[in-house]
Symmetry: C2
Subunit: 430 residues, 2 copies
């Protein structure tokens, strides 16, 4: 059973605040182990990768090779279910179309003073994508990370993925190939992150590393940050469904459980203005749990972190929605557009009764890599912008320099930076 | 004397690689101290701020007050030099005009399948800006951080600045006021970052913290990251000047020294195709050093990290320029536009002989907060984008859901996520 909070109760603010700050994940302290792994990969290169892979992934890279070959990819296509390959292509095309609209435009202009200014966007030259092994090895995540990089114009897109006991999910290889990934290596863990950041004999270094991973991978990304760029560190996933009583409780329960089945630390929250409806959804959750293959995970998540929040009117939930700042927000009621217009914080919003969040996980076209754990207050989902960077441009002639010089010199002197003042003044014989 | 590297020498690649990886800053290990400070501010709030400020800044907030008052700001206007105030206004207006062009546009559209997709940008609700004390207390940096936040639409812009021995640079207060900052507090160091992230009785928490600071401030920002967003961690500053022999050696030397006077770990690099010109610039540097107030700092920077790189033709420097990925790049030769068109990595580019980098520090209009230490390979300077975040939007009707459902269900099943498949199927009675 999830907890129930009533906005009109006297202790609501206190209980809601406590709910918001509940930690859903304990991060293991793996800093020191990771530091050693990175140092050894820097010192020994491929040899360290082979050793660590034998130890952690029980795979012999001496026999398999560090790099995945074209043959391996061809075999993956033969192994994979053809209908699933078609579904991946369908998803790839939709993701590509949507992300093409995100490409930022260069801007170059001359202002009233005759000064030329500009912003020029260029793709990052090489990007590494970490793909987890085992059950968390999601081909959809390969598309969600690699397609925006490709759209951005990244030349080298490199995947690292652990081959646990020698095996890589063939759908991961197919998704990588469909997305236009250039290189794939059979390494995982902190050692893979170290190889991407610092390079080895086989793996050329990249400029930025993205993609989800376990505590070791997250710690390694933090440690190499600066040498390379990294994406946000993903936390446990969450959904917030705001629904009125006109919804089918079974539909809403299914959406809450789709989130809960991800992980015991996932979080599903229902906000409704109708206590009866809230009860009906809770009952539907219990019923559906009985037939779910991943019921154990989903039940634990719902029990430990799930919540039903009762509000006097959906309108009253607006400040709560912004404070929760959920990764996924479903607005399942009629006037959702007006509500959305007044919302501030959410990773992604799914509007209406026929837009289950799961569509966004796979084939909506928008990205499923989204800010978790309230970070939608200050950050955005993955996009083409994560694979480009901006150079600013300034161009003055002698007339413009003369015009801007007095203020520049005044400010440089006020800040005690005489060489700054001089580099302007010297050009004007001042 | 800076080092000289010749691209045509046999050992160039080796020496250039070593030069690129030279560490210019040793970061002190202050993690544990900072952890304690943050814990105490969380536990004791304002009281901890008062205690730490007495200890570290020798200022009595019991008497002065934590918050800077309107009276304090009015006094700052009276104290400051009127010409400098005018220069700040001039800079503020130019920065504002340029950054207004950076506001991202919402995108909402219906694709061929009838699916509605969108990206909606909203301002971060509250942002904290750290301003260092003492000699590094630059009013220009207040404008460069606060103006883009204001343009983005951030409602609460909060400055923290240490009042060393009770004193805050009046120009910092004037710049904050001109930029539209909402609140200013007399606290600095890790304790100020902790207060911004977690809040105290006097200081309401913010959602993101930006601005430069010392090792304690940088460590505190890293530690509160996740609770709040942070900007990049700024490293030592650098300039790369690419110049032919048609330049006045004194002008170029002045530009190299403007960078070098910032800090002993700043870096100034000249690339030229003319060895005689390189020598002339080096001689000009030595001459100018004799009259500079900050000669000691500038000389140390030039001696320890400065470089003159000789290339057979400026064209040949293109790959070197991209590998250096400098914060500031001056292109002081005739065909700079074509060169720029083929460059990939730079924080900001200054074109032609009349655009000294210093113009960009103050009054060009572009931002002076730029990626340092080769991070222009993967990141961009500060902009309006740092103060907004994007929510993605998806909206399907029953027809669109029917169309997308088969691929979504196939992928969910392939990933072993049955509750995902079910949340789509249940809406179609599948």
């Amino acid at each position: 059973m999830a907890i129930t909070l009533r906005q009109q109760d006297a202790d609501f603010e206190q209980r809601f605040s406590a709910f918001l700050t509940t930690k859903r994940e304990v991060s293991a302290d793996v800093e020191a182990v990771v530091r050693d792994i990175i140092a050894r990969v820097r010192a020994e290169g491929d040899k360290a990768l082979v050793d660590y892979t034998l130890k952690f992934d029980k795979a012999d890279l001496g026999a398999l090779g560090i790099a995945v070959s074209k043959d391996d990819i061809a075999k993956a296509y033969q192994t994979a279910d053809p209908a699933t390959i078609e579904a991946l292509k369908f998803a790839r095309d939709r993701i590509r179309s949507h992300h093409q609209r995100q490409k930022p435009k260069d801007d170059r202009y001359t202002d009233a003073a005759g000064v030329e200014l500009g912003s020029r966007w260029t793709a990052i030259e090489a990007v590494g994508l970490y793909v987890p092994g085992g059950t968390a090895s999601y081909p959809s995540s390969v598309l969600m990370n690699a397609v925006p990089a490709k759209v951005a114009g990244v030349e080298r897109i490199v995947i690292v993925v652990p081959a646990t006991r020698g095996v890589i999910n063939p759908l991961v290889l197919v998704a990588a190939d469909l997305a236009g990934v250039s290189e794939i290596y059979r390494v995982g863990g902190a050692q893979a992150v170290a190889a991407l950041a610092h390079g080895t004999e086989t793996i050329m270094p990249v400029a930025k590393i993205v993609g989800p991973g376990n505590a070791y991978v997250a710690a390694a990304k933090r440690q190499v940050f600066g040498t390379v760029g990294i994406d946000m560190i993903a936390g446990p996933s969450e959904v917030l469904v705001v629904a009125d009583a006109d919804n089918d409780p079974d539909w809403i329960a299914a959406d809450l459980l789709a989130q809960a089945e991800h992980d015991v630390s996932a979080q599903s929250i229902l906000i409704t203005d109708n206590a009866e409806f809230g009860k009906a959804v809770e009952q539907a959750v219990e019923r559906q749990l009985k037939v779910l293959p991943r019921a154990e995970t989903a039940a634990a998540s719902w029990r430990d972190f799930g919540a039903v929040i009762l509000v006097p009117a959906l309108e009253a939930s607006l400040p709560l929605v912004d404070r929760i700042a959920a990764e996924h927000v479903e607005l399942a009621f009629d006037d959702a557009e007006s509500f959305l217009g007044r919302m501030r914080n959410a990773g992604a919003v799914f509007i209406g009764r026929h837009t289950p969040e799961v569509i966004g996980d796979y084939v909506g076209g928008s990205n499923h890599v989204l800010p978790t754990a309230r970070s939608a207050r200050f950050s955005s989902g993955l996009s083409v912008l994560d694979f480009v960077k901006r150079t600013s441009i300034l161009k003055l002639g002698p007339e413009q320099l003369k015009l801007l010089a007095p203020a520049a010199i005044a400010l440089a002197k006020a800040e005690g930076l005489d060489a700054h003042a001089r580099s302007v003044a010297i050009r004007l014989n001042m």
